[in-house]
Symmetry: C2
Subunit: 112 residues, 2 copies
C-alpha cells in the first residue's frame, strides 16, 4: 500500500459529511442532488466533498451523465482497514488488561 | 462512536510521519528525541505531529518527564477499524465480483 494513497483515504474519512455521504451510498447509487439534500450546505460545498471522495477512489461516477449518480467504491476502505489491522493485537491487549483488572477488583469484593 | 472523535482520529492517520511514529511506538515506549531522529524535520515539526496524535488519543506521555517517552494507545485505532468494518461486505462483494469475472474469462479460454 503506497503511503500517499493512505494519506488521501484517511484524509477523506476525516470529515462527518464525507462519512455520511459514504453511508448514504451504501444503499446504492445516488444522484448528486439527492446526496446534497440532507446537508445544510451549498451545492458547491457538497461538490467539493464529492471531489475529495473521488480523489481517494471512494466513489465513482455512474454512466448516466444527466443524473450524475455516484457509487460507493469500497477498495480504499479495505486498504485502510488492512493498515489498522496491523495494530489489532494492541487494542486486544488493552481489552485483556481491562478484563484482568476487573477480575482483580472482583476478588477484592468482600463475600457476603 | 462520536463523529468528531472519528474526524480527529482519521485526520491524525492521514499523514505518513504520524503513521511512521505509531509504527515506531508499536515496539514500545520511545523518547521524543528518538522518535524525531529518523525524520528529516525540526524538533518543533515533530512536536506538532505528536500533539495531533495526542489529541486523537493515539499516544500518551509516560511518567518519566525528563525523557518524555510516548506510548501507543490503540483504542482509537479500534474505533476507526469498527467504523470501517461496516463496509466490509462491500469490499468482499467486489472481490467476489472479480473472482466471478476471472472464472468467466477462464471459461472462454479455448481448451487445447
Amino acid at each position: 500500500m503506497e503511503s500517499d494513497k493512505l494519506d488521501v483515504i484517511f484524509g477523506a474519512l476525516a470529515d462527518p459529511t464525507r462519512r455520511a455521504i459514504l453511508a448514504r451510498l451504501a444503499s446504492g447509487e445516488v444522484t448528486v442532488n439527492d446526496l446534497a439534500a440532507p446537508f445544510a450546505m451549498s451545492q458547491p460545498a457538497v461538490s467539493k466533498h464529492l471531489k475529495v471522495l473521488e480523489r481517494a477512489g471512494l466513489i465513482s461516477r455512474g454512466r448516466e451523465a444527466q443524473w450524475r449518480p455516484r457509487t460507493l467504491e469500497a477498495e480504499p476502505l479495505k486498504d485502510a482497514a488492512a493498515w489498522l489491522e496491523q495494530y489489532r493485537r494492541f487494542w486486544e491487549q488493552s481489552l485483556d488488561r481491562l478484563e484482568d483488572h476487573l477480575r482483580e477488583l472482583q476478588k477484592k469484593v468482600p463475600k457476603p
